[in-house]
Amino acid sequence: MKIIVCAKQVPDTNEVKIDPVKGTLIRDGVPSILNPDDANALEAALTMKDSYPGTTVSVISMGPPQASIMLYECLAMGADQAYLLSSPAFGGADTCATSTTIAAGIRKLGGFDIIFAGRQAIDGDTAQVGPQVAQRLGIPVVTYVSKVRELGDGYIIVERQLEDGYEVIKVKTPCMLTAVKELNEPRYMNVGRIIDACEKKESVTVWNENDIGLRPESCGLKASPTQVLRSFTPAPKGKGEMLTGTVTEMSSALVQKLREKHVL
């Protein structure tokens, strides 16, 4: 089986702040990490590799040269190959251009059975890239995958997370699945594999637009119809408070609180 994982390097938003005036991300000095959902996507692929000998897991990413450390991390978790789509021509891509580029990279990789992506990247947050890549490759997609139930010959059965439950979906392979964090617990890297990945120069293959057969005007800013006018953090909502006890206790507590706030 051949599995491909789409992984993005993102700023660690636990440590990133949005400039409240300019509305842009303050990226200075913020460490970059493997997008959390993509770690779940990779774990799902590695779990399959563990149970189906002969499976290969390739990770593909579009990003600047520094993103190779994130790919070393994927290799150290157990991926077999890593590909970095990197070129000045890819800069400034919106989701449309990003998915064109990633789809071209995947075509160059040749056949596959399953592609895993994360549900959403914690910086761009659009959750569009997975489905768009699937659309460009002409394969079915299931988003929000929270469980893999069965992997059969030519199909896979998964659970798709909904707000209040889940759907069970049987989908033909090859297909694209986007992972949510409930899917699994990503494994740790392994020290020995970190050393192998980082000491072999050729462990990350870097491709530019020529390598994947795209013209410069089909990628990056030039091929991005989206223009981000403004991005902002909504002011945090006040914390809700849950009342507990019997109905009578809760209603009297509620009345008391409302009185305290002079609502009643």
């Binding site: 450390i69 890297m189 392994n190 020290v191 020995g192 970190i194 050393i195 980082c198």
Partner: protein, 380 residues
């Protein structure tokens, strides 16, 4: 030191593991009960952390000394006792084997250590021979194909949980240090018994006890290296081990600094955060600066060791001396910033203060490091 991706990832791995798998509540429980959770031990095994520094051909991960100190520092920042488990296997346990073992001994003992299947102990110290290790009195007398061991080893880390111990004993009392030989002894060999589990100030959760040897018969295949080469073997092991102790102390010192910053930002007296008193903020600036100096010294010493620099051994001693002494001072100041709360067990600094203390004592006291350094500088 600017770290390459390889070292950055090793650091990240250790940090992620420690923060996620060893929450504060678990650290408190280990400290209170003295029991180290089996589930955590298994995770250390499954992730190969007992073999970080053991070569790949023996089932380890093949890390160098820089990788190792970075790893230990991050683990120790969260749980010093966990770093003692890790160093027990990676350093004191496997060092003597890597220095002198035969291929058969490496297969039988080193591989299981790397894989977490056997836990080793390193038994040099005796009641009458601490800093003066060459003065040890345990004896090994040849009897046909066997040696018969007698004596008492003291303060042995992990003895109660160890599967085997490297025991240093004299095969020839007339030769002083050159009469010391090393043996690999299975802990279930008849004649071995343990002293009581010592009640320690810190690193509670890693048992320490005496090993008593009474007519312990071991086959000559258990001799590690040549007869008379035991003392050199022990010194070579401790030489590198010192980097690990310094890394352990550094990690705890970093934790102390973080606790102090957190407390100083939240505690109010005289109508303001205590962090806003210059006396406190300057203490914090001092601590942070010292930690950074320790870090550079330690990483540099590790690189010297990895590149086989001529005076690397002396640098390892310098790192141990300076980092552990500074770290204890930092713990002292961090506790001071906590005021009376620092003296109460509900605050993490109280445990850090107890844990960190042993670092200037074991694997050669600070004074012994000064002996090593000055001998190197003043040799004729």
């Amino acid at each position: 030191m600017i770290l390459s991706p390889k070292y950055q990832l090793i650091q990240k791995l250790a940090r992620d593991f420690a923060e996620k798998e060893i929450p504060e509540s678990m650290q408190e429980e280990i400290d209170q009960t003295g029991k180290y959770p089996e589930s955590l031990y298994r995770k250390i095994t499954d992730n190969g952390f007992f073999g970080i520094k053991i070569p790949k051909e023996y089932g380890g991960q093949g890390g160098d000394n820089l990788a190792y100190v970075l790893f230990v520092e991050q683990i120790s920042r969260v749980s010093m006792v966990t770093s003692i488990y890790i160093s027990g296997a990676n350093s004191l346990g496997s060092g003597p084997l890597l220095n002198a073992a035969t291929p058969e001994q490496l297969e039988k003992y080193l591989r299981p250590v790397a894989e977490g299947k056997k836990f080793p102990a390193f038994a040099l110290t005796e009641p009458g021979a601490g800093s003066d290790a060459a003065g040890l009195q345990s004896s090994a007398v040849r009897d046909g194909d066997y040696y018969v061991l007698n004596g008492r080893k003291t303060f042995i880390t992990g003895a109660p949980i160890a599967d085997f111990a490297i025991i240093y004993a004299k095969t020839d009392f007339s030769k002083g240090a050159k009469g010391i030989s090393a043996f690999i002894v299975d802990m279930d060999t008849p004649g071995i018994s343990l002293g009581r589990n010592e009640k320690k100030m810190g690193i509670i959760g890693m048992p320490t006890s005496d090993i008593i040897l009474e007519d312990v018969r071991v086959h000559k295949d258990s001799l590690l290296g040549e007869e008379g080469m035991g003392f050199i073997n022990a010194m070579k092991t401790l030489d590198v081990g010192r980097l690990g102790v310094a890394a352990t102390a550094l990690g705890v010192a970093q934790a102390c600094l973080e606790e102090a910053i957190d407390f100083a930002k939240n505690r109010k007296q005289f109508g303001q955060r205590i962090a806003d008193f210059q006396a406190i903020s300057f203490m914090i600036a001092q601590m942070a600066t010292q930690i950074q100096a320790c870090r550079e010294l330690l990483y540099n010493s590790a690189v010297l060791k990895d590149t086989n620099a001529k005076d690397a051994g002396m640098h390892c001693s310098m790192a141990k001396l300076f980092v552990t002494e500074t770290a204890c001072r930092i713990a002292h100041d961090a506790l001071q910033i906590h005021g009376g709360y620092g003296y109460i067990k509900d605050y993490r600094i109280e445990r850090l203060y107890r844990d960190i203390r042993v670092n200037t004592l074991f694997e050669g006291t600070s004074q012994v490091q000064q002996i090593v350094i000055s001998k190197e500088l003043l040799k004729k």
